[in-house]
């Protein structure tokens, strides 16, 4: 009986154009839109520091000229790309046209920098000037107090000693992949529609075929488990197709072996199914069921970073309990941690949370549905 119901549920759901559209085609379409929207940001680091185009208006040969030269002629990592102008008007024109981000102008002993707007780049240009004045002051002070040390001091300055090293993490996927993780989470939560459809087919108070079904000599547990197995399998396959599409068609890599990603997305799909069963078990009105499943999917997905990438981390730093309860955030976090840090404790925390949520919701739903009798149909 289990196999009979299982096979027919698969057929029934797979042939439903809505499920194919919402659970498979829509996420693929959206992934494609994401790819066109910001796929280039995933392949090339948009925050990569490149030499800042800057102007320099010099009135005569000044020591600052050498600073400009040294900062722009470093073949490995030039900080500036200097354009020299003979007059300030030329520099202003270039700044207004966007050819330079700012320009330095030296009048007598005073050097100032003119920029188009506030921001990190302007601050960097300002910092270069501050550093110049800073080093002048230090050399003056050392020259006054310990003149015998001045040569060593100049050598130290020229060597540009570094005191910092970056902390390196073993794996790396672009932060923009978070949008795709969130999309997979949303697709998983759409699995709740599969389970509400399945449930309506076996509930006498929902559909006519549900009435016929409940008149038949089939145990509720058999119906439910066969239906759950069918929907979880389907949603797992849909998620798998989406993952394969992202990896092989869009050529965006998850950073880990694919089987690991598929395990996580399969668990995510099961969680979406469980949410649908839970809503279907507690809510009888079809319209309200639809509204709730849509609402839960969209709100959870948004809070996991579907439209605004930073939000999941903002929540994590301020009210982490929300992420602990948000199914989409759990799945997104799981994939993110897997791709960037491997199977860390945060990865297992999210994975086990998803499994726990799935089992918990299923248990409650089964308890409600198993003994359900109707007062009216």
């Amino acid at each position: 009986m289990f196999c009979h119901v299982f096979v027919y549920r698969i057929k029934e759901l797979l042939r439903n154009p809505w499920h194919l559209a919402w659970n498979l085609l829509f996420p693929i379409g959206l992934a494609t839109a994401f790819f066109f929207g910001f796929g280039n940001l995933i392949k090339e680091d948009p925050e990569l520091f490149t030499a800042i185009p800057v102007g320099y208006v010099k009135e005569a040969d000044q020591p600052f000229d050498e600073v400009m030269t040294s900062l722009s002629e470093d073949k490995k990592d030039p900080i500036l790309k200097v354009s020299r102008y003979s007059g300030e008007e030329q520099a202003k024109k270039a700044l207004r046209a966007g050819k330079v981000r700012g320009y330095y102008i030296q009048k007598g002993d005073t050097i100032s920098v003119v920029v188009g707007r506030n921001g990190i780049t302007s601050t960097t240009l300002h910092q270069i000037l501050k550093e110049y004045e800073n080093q002048k002051k230090v050399l003056e002070t050392i020259g006054a107090k310990h003149p015998e040390k001045i040569a060593a001091a100049v050598e130290t300055i020229q060597s540009r000693q570094n005191f910092l090293h970056p902390h390196v993490f073993n794996q790396y996927t672009s932060v923009y992949m978070n949008y795709f993780f969130s999309l997979i989470a949303m697709a998983s939560l759409y699995g709740s529609w599969l389970s509400t459809t399945m449930l309506s087919g076996i509930s006498a108070n929902m559909t006519e075929r549900g009435k016929r079904y409940e008149s038949a000599p089939i145990r509720k547990m058999t119906s439910l488990s066969a239906g759950l197995a069918a929907t979880m399998l389907l949603q797992g396959v849909f998620n798998g197709i989406l993952v394969l599409y992202i990896q092989y068609v869009l050529q965006l890599h998850f950073g880990v072996p694919l089987w690991q990603v598929l395990v996580v997305t399969t668990v995510g799909g099961a969680m979406g199914i469980a949410i649908g069963i839970f809503i279907g078990a507690l809510v009888k009105k079809k319209g309200l069921q639809m509204a709730l499943t849509l609402g839960v999917s969209m709100v959870s997905s948004f809070l996991s970073g579907l439209m605004w990438g930073e939000i999941r981390q903002i929540i994590e730093s301020r009210i982490p309990v929300v992420n602990r309860l948000n199914p989409a955030a759990m799945l997104t976090g799981c994939l993110y941690n897997l791709g960037n840090y491997g199977m860390t404790k945060n990865f297992y925390r999210d994975l086990y949370s998803m499994i726990l949520m799935t089992l918990g919701l299923l248990l409650v739903s089964v308890a409600v549905l198993r003994r359900r009798n109707y007062d009216s149909l």
Binding site: A204, R212, E214, N373, L377
Partner: protein
């Protein structure tokens, strides 16, 4: 001795303030076609749903095949077939798949099931449509599919809940003939409807329901015999005098004479050849008349007499 297949005793079902089934009792004997007749809202479908343990009820007992019926009585459910009022099929499965799916909930053995499915398709005349999806079928065909899904597993008790609603006459006749065939093959049938003609034509015994109660029970003949009125004669008259009305009332078995517009209505409480006697009177008195129609009583008349309203109100 005939076995009691279904016994409902003092069933009460309330929907908040409304009493949908009010101490309803009935018995269905083996091999009969029991008609459950009543207007819309009389409690027929509610009774059926309680019988199938789809609905909780407030009081009463229901036994099927001698055993108490409950949601967990899978052995009993396995012997019941249901053809619900509204079409209950899966839109994304073909005709053959629908029948196979629902049959499979009753019959585990694949070989047996395959045979039963084929027989059901043949019986309902759906051979040409086995690969069609329900949305491609006409109203009559989809009703046949609805029936096939309910009877494919050859149940001993079949419940038809208004199966011919919105069905064309040809399909309707086919459905009724199919039901008779199933009964001939040994199935006991409960047939609910608000169409008295169908129930009269098909059922061996009838229960009339109104406001959740059993208001009359018996064969068609028994129910009609319970009426005073055994024959109604309508005559289109040109003129009608009081003297004539009084004379007509004197004729044997005539108990009511009424003028209804240009029509004279004469009710007789038995007897044979009433029409001959009345025609004789008119011939004797040389009174002209128009068309004459004689009607035997219907179940509607039974219902009207018991409840004071028409079956189709």
């Amino acid at each position: 001795m005939e076995q009691t297949i279904v016994a409902i005793d003092q069933l009460v079902k309330r929907y908040r303030e409304k009493l949908a089934v009010d101490h309803f009792s009935m018995k269905v004997m083996e091999g009969e076609i029991l008609g459950l007749l009543g207007p819309n809202g009389s409690g027929k479908t509610t009774t059926i749903n309680c019988l199938l343990s789809l609905l909780k009820f407030d009081k009463g007992e229901i036994t099927v095949f001698g055993k108490p019926m409950s949601p967990e009585a899978y052995d009993l459910k396995g012997q019941i077939g249901v053809v619900p009022q509204n079409v209950a099929v899966i839109q994304t499965l073909t005709v053959a798949e629908n029948i196979d799916f629902f049959c499979g909930l009753y019959i585990k053995d694949r070989k047996t099931r395959k045979q039963y499915v084929e027989e059901a398709i043949r019986m309902t005349g759906l051979e040409e449509y086995r690969k069609y999806y329900p949305k491609k079928l006409s109203g009559g065909l989809i009703r046949r599919l609805n029936i096939a899904c309910g009877i494919a597993h050859k149940p001993k008790l079949i419940i038809f809940d208004e199966p011919t609603v919105a069905v064309d006459p040809q399909s309707r006749n086919a459905i009724l003939e199919g039901i008779r065939e199933m009964n001939r093959q040994g199935a006991t049938i409960i047939y609910t409807s608000h169409y008295m003609e169908e129930v009269e034509e098909l059922c061996t015994r009838i229960i009339i329901m109104d406001r959740g109660r059993n208001v009359a029970e018996g064969t068609t003949a028994q129910l009609k015999a319970s009426l005073r009125n055994r024959e109604t004669i309508r005559m289109e008259m040109v003129t009608c005098t009081d003297e004539m009305l009084a004379d007509l009332k004197e004729i044997n078995h005539v108990y009511e004479v009424k003028v209804d517009g240009e029509c004279l209505m004469i009710r007789c409480d038995g007897g044979t050849h009433n029409l001959v006697h009345i025609m004789g009177y008119f011939a004797e008195k040389n009174i002209p008349f128009g068309r004459v129609v004689t009607e035997l009583p219907t179940l509607n008349d039974v219902f009207l007499e018991i409840t004071g309203k028409e079956l189709r109100d």
